[in-house]
């Protein structure tokens, strides 16, 4: 038997999505006509046994296209890529939740997939009952769960609350229990999606350890994560997905480097960000983001300089009817996606920040604290309690070297691009005594 346990050949997955036409209907006649057309189409679809899709126009969307790969027994493979790159779709296909639209996958061995922790947990049931329920859902037999029951409880650390309904659990306990059940699965192939994003740091470390154990026992693991550090620690090989295709593969470190360089290639220069993937209601949205905007009509972005003042201008656009008081946030993250610091008007500026279509909000940092290098940023906008715009990924900024402390050095070499600088000074008592003695 060959050593390849998963082989994908020309794998593709297609979704059909609908768009509402943007035309606004004012006359009743138009509304009726539109409703009529919609009804007619729905009836036609139903007769043909197709799924109903909201919206006037339809578009085919390939979440995965022409994906080929081979994974050998015992390999731990990381899958990285930005949101919407097709990672989760791939895992769904591999775990048989959805079937591919073209191509095929051949799998040798038993697969267990962990796309979410605590799938099927019922709030009314006790911890004990949920362990059996969740275990069965993940594919364990009752005998197997009984055998591992103590281990599961021990790992989660919830002995005292075993007979309490999980709706009374704290969210941390809930997640620990849920992950603990999942961590005791013993399949030949384990498929894991981003589940480590939950729980506190200590528990995350415990989970990583547990997964390393799993990988160490000669099992094959497929691991999707945004946590580059975790991918680097766990995986020997990695695939980089972009726009539904496998963009790169190889040694984990090389692939991560490639991912980071591709990810950061879209620097904020002209600052137009309308095309970025985002969440929120979008009645009001970030139109441009500019660093140290030059005055005059052709405003341009100038990179922030370490230690120098920095102004971040956020231009908003949207529905002229929408206005109100805003909660805004700008998060700076390092190349691995770990947040470094957050700028929030709510915390630093007591006065109300009113925004509307065409507003330009300026956030000023007196002394820019990041060392030279590339950073990604995320933007958040909430107006009167409604999240309007939220761009988590896809924006990055290049910081230029400058002096923060007024000395010749900002940080030890090798720390560029990942450090936040804080004013500080050092002295030693020994030094002081010597000074006085002399």
């Amino acid at each position: 038997m060959s050593d390849v346990v998963i082989r994908a050949e020309g794998l593709g997955k297609k979704y059909v999505i609908g768009h509402e036409s943007t035309e606004r209907y004012t006359a009743l006649r138009d509304v009726l006509a539109q409703q009529g057309r919609r009804l007619l189409r729905s009836a036609r679809d139903m007769a043909a046994g197709r799924a109903l899709i909201a919206g006037e126009e339809r578009e085919e969307f390939w979440a995965l296209k022409d994906v080929n790969f081979e994974i050998k027994r015992g390999e731990v493979v990381g899958i990285i890529g930005r949101n919407g790159a097709g990672k989760s779709t791939l895992l769904k296909v591999l775990s048989r939740i959805t079937e591919p639209s073209e191509g095929r996958v051949i799998i040798e061995g038993r697969v267990a997939s962990l796309l979410e922790v605590g799938t099927g947990f019922h709030p009314e049931l006790t911890g004990r009952e949920n362990i059996y329920l969740n275990g069965a859902i993940l594919g364990m037999t009752r005998a197997e769960i009984r055998r591992k029951f103590d281990e599961i409880v021990d790992f989660a650390g919830v002995e005292k609350f075993l007979d309490t309904p999980v709706k009374r659990y704290s969210s941390g306990m809930y997640v620990r229990l849920a992950f603990s059940v999942a961590a005791h699965l013993e399949p030949e192939i384990l498929v894991v999606d981003e589940v480590l994003a939950v729980g506190d740091a200590e528990f995350q470390k415990k989970c990583l350890g547990k997964m390393q154990d799993v990988a160490g026992h000669g099992r094959t693991v497929l691991f999707v994560s945004h946590n580059m550090a975790a991918v680097q620690n766990l995986c020997s090989r990695a695939y980089f997905f972009q726009k539904g295709r496998k963009y790169a593969e190889g040694n984990t470190i090389d692939v991560i480097k490639q991912y980071l360089s591709t990810d950061c290639s879209e620097l904020v220069t002209a600052g137009y960000i309308s095309d970025k993937p985002r969440k929120g209601k979008q009645d009001l949205y970030f139109h441009r983001v500019l660093f140290n905007k030059t005055s005059g009509s052709s405003s341009e972005s100038n990179p922030p300089v370490t230690g120098a003042p920095c102004e971040i201008s956020l231009k908003l656009k949207g529905d002229p009817e929408v206005r109100g008081s805003a909660r805004m946030g700008i998060t700076f993250k390092d190349a691995f996606g770990n947040p470094l610091f957050l700028l929030a008007n709510e915390a630093s500026t007591p006065s109300i920040l009113r925004v509307e279509d065409g507003s330009c909000v300026v956030c000023r940092i007196e002394k820019f604290p990041l060392t030279q290098g590339k950073y990604s940023i995320s933007l958040f906008l909430e107006v009167d309690g409604v999240i309007q715009d939220w761009i988590e990924d896809g924006l990055s900024v290049e910081v230029e070297a400058g002096s923060f402390f007024g000395t010749s050095k900002n940080c030890p070499s090798g720390w560029e691009g990942k450090a936040v600088l804080v004013e500080n000074s050092w002295k030693s008592t020994l030094q002081e005594r010597n000074y006085h003695a002399s």
Binding site: V93, R104, V105, R110, V111, E116, G120, E129, I137, G139
Partner: protein
């Protein structure tokens, strides 16, 4: 997941995932997931009576009040004849047991996929497990109502003969009669959510065209064929044949017709369900 952890098939299986591929392993998979089936049914049963005030009492009150109303309206006001010597109340009860079993399975199973959408989107298992587990839950209510029926029969001192031993067969038949349309509706419900509004209508309509409040002997000979197309006619007549002793005669031709309709719906329901099952996760 291709298998449960204790694969009895021996050795790791090879699994090919491909568009539109018929799954030869499906029925074996279904067998492997029998524990999930049991545990989902157990979950629904134990959750059902948690944090409810009336709880079990509801399963008693509903058939009891319905029996009284039907006995008064059909037996007293309309003066319809019962099956032979059987008291009208007992006859109504014998018809109501399978009818309530049928209608609860139909409504619970049809909505089960949508209420369990979190499971469908995140884990693989044969989807047939969900509506079937929901169907089993209805058996609990049935058992409670059945106890009530026994008490009613004792009250009238009307005892069945040996045929009562065949009752489990007809219980299974009632479940099969409900499961066919329920599978069909649950699959359609994933795609088109309007179907959930149709179910209460079917249940209400069905109550009048099925011999729940009256006996099948009232149906004129000319209407027998059309009447027999209702699968519940065979099931309810079968229940009365078991429980009312020699008093109720089973019309074999109409019974065979009902059996045929039940078998057809079961086959068609499973077929539609199996065909659309793979797209559930994309649509739900």
């Amino acid at each position: 997941m291709t298998d449960t952890m204790t694969s009895s098939s021996g050795g790791p299986g090879r699994l090919v995932l491909e568009a539109g591929r018929a799954d030869a392993q499906y029925w074996r998979d279904l067998w492997h997931y029998r524990e999930l089936f049991a545990i989902l049914a157990w979950r629904d049963i134990s959750v059902r009576y948690k944090q409810t005030v009336i709880g079990v009492a509801w399963a008693v009150i509903r058939p009891f009040l319905t029996m009284i109303v039907f006995t008064v309206i059909f037996g007293r006001v309309a003066q319809l004849p019962s099956d032979g010597e059987a008291p009208y109340a007992v006859m109504v009860f014998a018809g109501m047991l399978p009818w309530f079993l049928f209608s609860t399975i139909l409504s619970e199973s049809s909505n089960s996929l949508v209420t369990n959408s979190a499971l469908v989107g995140k884990v693989y298992f044969p989807r047939l497990v969900i509506p079937s587990a929901a169907a089993v839950v209805s058996l609990v209510d049935f058992m409670i109502s059945f106890t009530l029926m026994v008490l009613t029969m004792l009250w009238f001192w009307f005892l069945p003969d040996w045929r009562v031993l065949l009752l489990p067969v007809f219980v299974l038949l009632a479940m099969a009669a409900a499961l066919g349309p329920a599978l069909l509706l649950s699959a359609l419900n994933v795609k088109y959510r309007d179907f959930r509004y149709i179910i209460p209508f079917i249940v209400q309509f069905g109550l009048y065209v099925s011999p729940v409040g009256f006996s099948s002997v009232n149906v004129p000979e000319g209407w027998r064929f059309l009447y027999g197309l209702n699968p519940m006619v065979g099931v309810i007549d079968g229940f009365r044949w078991c429980l009312l002793g020699g008093e109720a005669a089973l019309n074999w031709s109409s019974f065979a017709l009902s059996l045929g309709v039940i078998a057809f719906f079961l086959w068609y329901g499973i077929r539609v369900f199996r065909r659309t099952e793979k797209t559930f996760a994309d649509l739900i």
